[in-house]
Structures are given as C-alpha cells and as structure tokens.
Symmetry: C2
Subunit: 194 residues, 2 copies
C-alpha cells in the first residue's frame, strides 16, 4: 500500500514542520505559508492533507499527547509498587523524547490557546483528566484521604511549572536533571509525614 505510506510520511513531515514553526513564530503568528516553507512544501498541500489549519493544529497537539502517552507507558512497564508507578508517571513528563525546548514551547502555547479553540480544548481536557487519574490511582494506595487531593495538585502544578520555565528558554535544566528534581520532590512529598 504505497498510497498510505506516502500520506503518512507527509503527515509526519508537516506535523513536525508545524512544531518547529510554532516554536519559531508562536502559535498566534504562525502562518500556513511559514509551515509549508519549513516543510519544503506549499501551503496548498497542507490543506490537501489536513483540510484546514485548524486540523493541522489539532493533529500537532495529538502528536504531543501521543509522545507523553508513549513515554508514560514505557516507564510503567517495569514498575512493581504504587510508589514506583507514581515516580514513573512523573518522570515520564521529563522524558528525553518530550522535554525539549521546541516541544515545551509548543505545549505551553497549546495550553494557553486551548480555552479559545474547541478542538484543542477537547484534547486538552482529555489529557488532563488522564494524567490526573493516573496520579490519583497511585496516590490512593500511598496517602490517606485528606492530603491526597492537595498532593495531586501540587505534583501537577510543579510539572506544569517546569514546562513553563523550559518554554521561557531561560536556564533550562537538561531532561535528566529535571527527572531527578521531579523525583526528589515527589518522594519528599510522599514522605513528608514522617
């Protein structure tokens, strides 16, 4: 099936060009022409494959979500205890495949724009619910009720914040240190009672 392959190749190329372009110009300022240039194609061909700019953005966001999902599943494979699983979920957010300037930048911009773009809002809501539920599942076995909810929000806020910082492009830690820091904070929070 040569047909399908070519289409998939183009999809990949265009989504990756979109990520680079958004990182370069900003979500609000990126144009079809710019993305096409980045991909070495024409603006019209993006419409041929995606139908509209909106759908290209949607697919681009899907790509980011899929990277996170993949990283999370990979890290969950070798876990035994709830504590290990929680750490795996947290560390997945700073996986080498995810925690790059371009992806953090694009991610933040999708977040900022999600409330105003229905198709992004939907994906955003689904992802957020999945991450929250993953964390809660493990916390249930680790922490008694009153503190649980607050703990989950703290962890999630911290992860969002590190991504935000990374997107600002300042002194970005490398992925490995980001994981170490996140792990340290998670364990400190889990052990705080003792």
């Amino acid at each position: 099936m040569e047909r399908k392959r070519i289409r998939d190749i183009r999809n990949d190329e265009l989504v990756e060009a979109a990520i680079r372009s958004i990182h370069g110009c900003g979500f609000g300022r990126v144009t079809m022409a710019e993305i096409a240039r980045e991909a070495g194609a024409s603006a019209a061909s993006i419409n041929y494959y995606f139908g509209s700019k909106d759908r290209l953005m949607e697919e681009t966001m899907r790509r980011l979500l899929s990277v996170l999902r993949t990283a999370t599943l990979a890290r969950l494979v070798d876990t035994r205890t709830p504590r290990e699983r929680l750490v795996a979920i947290v560390e997945a957010n700073f996986d080498d495949t995810l925690f790059t300037p371009a992806q953090c930048s694009v991610w933040i911009q999708f977040w900022a724009n999600a409330p105003y773009a229905p198709s992004l809002a939907r994906l955003h809501r689904i992802n957020r619910a999945r991450v929250a539920s993953n964390i809660r599942r493990e916390l249930r076995q680790l922490v008694p009720e009153p503190a649980r909810e607050r703990l989950q929000m703290t962890i999630q806020a911290y992860m969002d914040g590190v991504w935000t910082e990374a997107a600002q492009g300042g002194a970005v830690p490398d992925a490995a240190s980001a994981r170490a820091d996140a792990r340290a904070l998670t364990e400190l929070l889990l052990d705080q009672g003792r």
Copy 2:
C-alpha cells in the same frame, strides 16, 4: 489638572477592558474593536491614547506586573526574618488582588507570547529577574549553597504551575487556600534537611 486625570481614567478603563477581553477571546484573537466594545469606546480612541495595539498590550502587562509588585511590597512590610520574607514573597503571588481567573489567564497568555513580542519579552525578563533575585536573597540566609539554586527553581516552577492551572479554569482553589498550600510547600522545602 483636569487634563491628566481624564487621560489616566481612560488609560485605566482601556487596560481593564483589555484584560477582560483577552480573558474572553484570547491574546491571539482579541481585536481592537472587541476591546473598544468592552470599554464602551471606539477602536480609534485606543489608538489615540496608546498609539498602537502593541503598546496597549505592553501597558496591560505592566499593569499585571505592578499588581504583583504592590502585593509583594505590602506583604514584606511586617516581616522580620528571612523565612518570613520568603513566605511573604511566595504568598504575594496568590494575593486576592492577583489570583483571579482573568488575571491568571491573561498572565499565562502573556508568558506564552513573550518570546515572540519584543516589548513583552523585555518586561517578562525584567519581572522574572526581580522575582528570582528576591527569592535568592532570602534563600541565601536560609539554605546552604548546593541546594539553594534548585530550591529557587522548584518554588518558582510551583508558582508558575499553580497559575497555569488556575488559567485552565479547572478546579481552581481560592486565593486563600492557594496561599496556604504555597506556604506549606515552601516550609516543607526549607525544613527538608531535618
């Protein structure tokens, strides 16, 4: 000096209309016409007072920064120890005057767009440097060197993250709980060695 007063009143009205409009439409989609409508004025009058959309956005961001600065200074007044000052700085980020859905939302959007708009980038950089330096000043007297830098980043990431969450509009805690949570985390981090 009636002249000055009218100008100041219009400036205030227009900046506040801009905040409401950006919260409603998004930074990338808000138009002069929409802001004018929100303010009960005309698009042309915004140009009369601010010269351009760009400068209105710049002034709007300045407003947000000024609210944070004011809240911080107010909370620093009655502090005695470095620890109290650090807590004051952190709590200021969740002051009642700041931690509202509209302001968090606008703030996040300014952050996301700062890398692509020179005038916003400048303000953003200055603010970030000031907050970082405030935190570092107190940490110097509270924490030995190796951990200091990491602690500062953790605190700042957490604060960014809570704002991000608040901007998403999900289950936003009220300002008072946000302050309590932030204080608890700060003190946990400070005491972690013991």
